[in-house]
Amino acid sequence: MSAVRTETNGTEMTDTRFTGTSTYVATDDLMLAVNAAVTLERPILVKGEPGTGKTQLAVEVANALGKPLFEWHIKSTTKAQQGLYEYDAVARLRDSQLGDERVHDIANYIQKGKIWEAFASDDQPVLLIDEIDKADIEFPNDLLRELDRMEFYVYETQRLVAAKHRPIIVITSNNEKELPDAFLRRCFFHYIKFPDQDTMARIVDVHYPDLKKNLLREALNAFYKVREVPGLKKKPSTSELLDWIKLLVAEDIPPEVLRSDDKRKAIPPLYGALLKNEQDVHLFERLVFLDRGAGHQ
């Protein structure tokens, strides 16, 4: 049991600033939101289209600031209590039946959750609470005190667990549920909007530094054109673009093929990497076909 009373070392000012990393391009506003959260030691809530690097943010913040990372992935059945600790009553019951010595210390049956692990970390950790909207509607409310005071009470052992260092908490949401106001008020908020073409070029550059300039330009043009196709159910996002470019490089596709001035070659090669939905693929093919028909006349 490492549940010892510790003083929260909260007032210590961090002079490290997050400015993106060699594998992650952060925009000015994102950097500022992260730094505000780091300085004020409050959680930051990150929303945005799927595939724009919400989860990756926590990993990169931990890397950039050289801090340990604890990841708590939320499922629809996750309860707030599981992040703190779980009391394995069944194991204790079984041990009591078998006459095991361990049964006398209830602490043997307390299993630490991710929040406790983060609280117990010797260095200031980064705690990722991923896809908080997946859980029940009341889930964020159940964590209010823990995130505010960075401490909780273990009833079974009558102990107060306080964070050694207030963790930098990154929370991501996909907007499947509205989050309660009381919870939102305690967070900084950042909406990762879809990157513009310049930012996107920087992002691709970070991932594929050796990419030929003209291939990148043509690929981006083709990519933004696909995104503009009206009525797509799932627009391709950054992660799909990166996958697609990886394929283009692997197949050694020349940049000229991507140029869509020629109507007859308007379908970008390997577009299966960009469109993940069968209906979208059909829609796209149909539009290109119509376009091609118009081009002939």
Binding site: M13, D29, L32, A36, R42, L93, I137, D181, L184, Y191
Partner: protein
């Protein structure tokens, strides 16, 4: 400090709280935003806005409140080399102004006052107070020139004009007051959920186990319960064809949202109004019909009934036998819908037509009367009200 801005946000319909304002002030005190207006904007946005649908509104209010501020205060807090300051001032002042300055205690004095004032502002900013709030206080206005005239800090256009950032209004299409997207519908429909324990017992019921074990003199007696599942049952009846064609997309969205939301969801189609039969597959609407009575017999009274239709038709189609446009109906539609309503007490009608038009369409008035006024517009707020009526 920033209080008028705070009230302006609230008047603009944002539910920013005092806690958030205090957080912003604390962040400024700790120097998070540095000295640029851009950073201040980003910080204010991250602190005061908690939903992307509010971002556009925030941008507009921010622009309205701070318009003009950034021009005069842009880089006020940069280190000012005194020589440069003097030179600039000299260049910009006419003979006449110089004479007036002399009268006021000389140029040196004035520059000293200017510096003091600037430093004071800098300190205030450090202290998290009113560097923006002092928008209009150009301290030297009385002397015939102002910091803008001296162009403090504005050497070249190195500093990207901050206003552009919020004037771009990049978040316009996220504003939720107009769009009824699948996601919004899902959130609204989610309020209909009701949890109940049904099905296989696969979870340990700790309390019951302890209780039973204690009664069993300590001999372990494990009790299991089924997991909690969403137990809401819904019958969805969608109007299709004719005047509903305009609304097909919105209905499709509602349907796609609804289908993943409930465990028991049954849907049927009708055309204009409910008669003796409905159908499940629109392509085979004439060959495969389900008698309405079978529906009431098959699905229990605990189902909630939702009609989606514009209820826009000739009133004859509702009240007269044989009024249907598609076939000869032996009994009027009003009788059939009442049969359904007698079985399913929890029922609403969602209407994609704008509410203003309801009073001018006799068939909508008629349908509303039959539904006991439980007709709601197919908007987010209408859906919300409807869901409340279903509870």
């Amino acid at each position: 400090m920033l209080i008028p801005f705070f009230y302006m946000l609230r008047e603009g319909g944002m539910n920013t709280s005092i806690t958030e304002l205090l957080t912003l002030l604390e962040a400024m005190k700790r120097g998070v935003a540095g000295t640029s207006v851009d950073d201040f904007y980003y910080l204010a946005r991250a602190t005061l806005v908690k939903d992307e649908s509010q971002l556009d509104r925030f941008d507009r209010i921010f622009a309205a409140y701070f318009r003009g501020v950034e021009d005069s205060l842009g880089d006020l807090f940069e280190e000012l080399p005194e020589d440069w300051l003097l030179k600039q001032a000299e260049l910009l002042l006419s003979e006449e102004e110089r004479a007036r300055i002399e009268a006021l205690g000389g140029f040196e004095e004035l520059m000293k006052a200017l510096r003091e004032r600037l430093e004071e502002q800098d300190e205030r900013h450090e202290g998290g107070s009113k560097w923006i709030g002092t928008a209009g206080t150009s301290p030297f206005g009385a002397y015939g020139y102002n910091p803008e005239g001296v162009r403090i800090g504005q050497h070249g256009s190195r500093h990207r004009s901050a206003v552009k950032v919020w004037d771009r209004r990049e978040y316009r299409n996220l504003d939720d007051s107009v769009e009824l997207g699948t996601r919004n519908i899902k959130v609204a429909l989610r309020r209909l959920r009701k949890f109940a324990r049904e099905g296989a017992a696969d979870q340990l019921d700790l309390e019951d186990t302890i209780d039973k074990t204690a009664r069993n003199a300590g001999l372990l007696d494990i009790r299991m319960v089924p997991e909690r599942h969403n137990a809401v049952k819904v019958l969805l009846c969608l109007d299709i064809g004719g005047s509903m064609d305009d609304h097909v997309r919105i209905c499709e969205e509602l349907f796609s949202a609804a289908s993943s939301e409930f465990k028991h969801l049954e849907y049927f189609y009708f055309h204009n109004f409910i008669y003796e039969s409905l159908w499940k597959d629109n392509r085979r609407r004439h060959s495969e019909r389900v008698p309405t009575l079978d529906i009431t017999h098959k699905y229990g009274a605990d189902y909630k009934l939702i009609f989606i239709g514009d209820a826009t038709m000739s009133p004859y189609e509702i009240v007269y036998a044989g009024g249907s446009v598609e076939h000869w109906n032996e009994e009027p539609g009003a009788v059939w819908i009442k049969r359904l309503l007698n079985t399913y007490h929890k029922a609403i009608w969602l209407n994609p037509e704008p509410r203003e038009r309801w009073d001018f369409t006799p068939s909508i008035k008629l349908t509303r009367e039959i539904m006991d006024d439980r007709m709601f517009p197919l908007t987010i707020s209408g859906l919300d009200d409807g869901i409340k009526a279903l509870h």
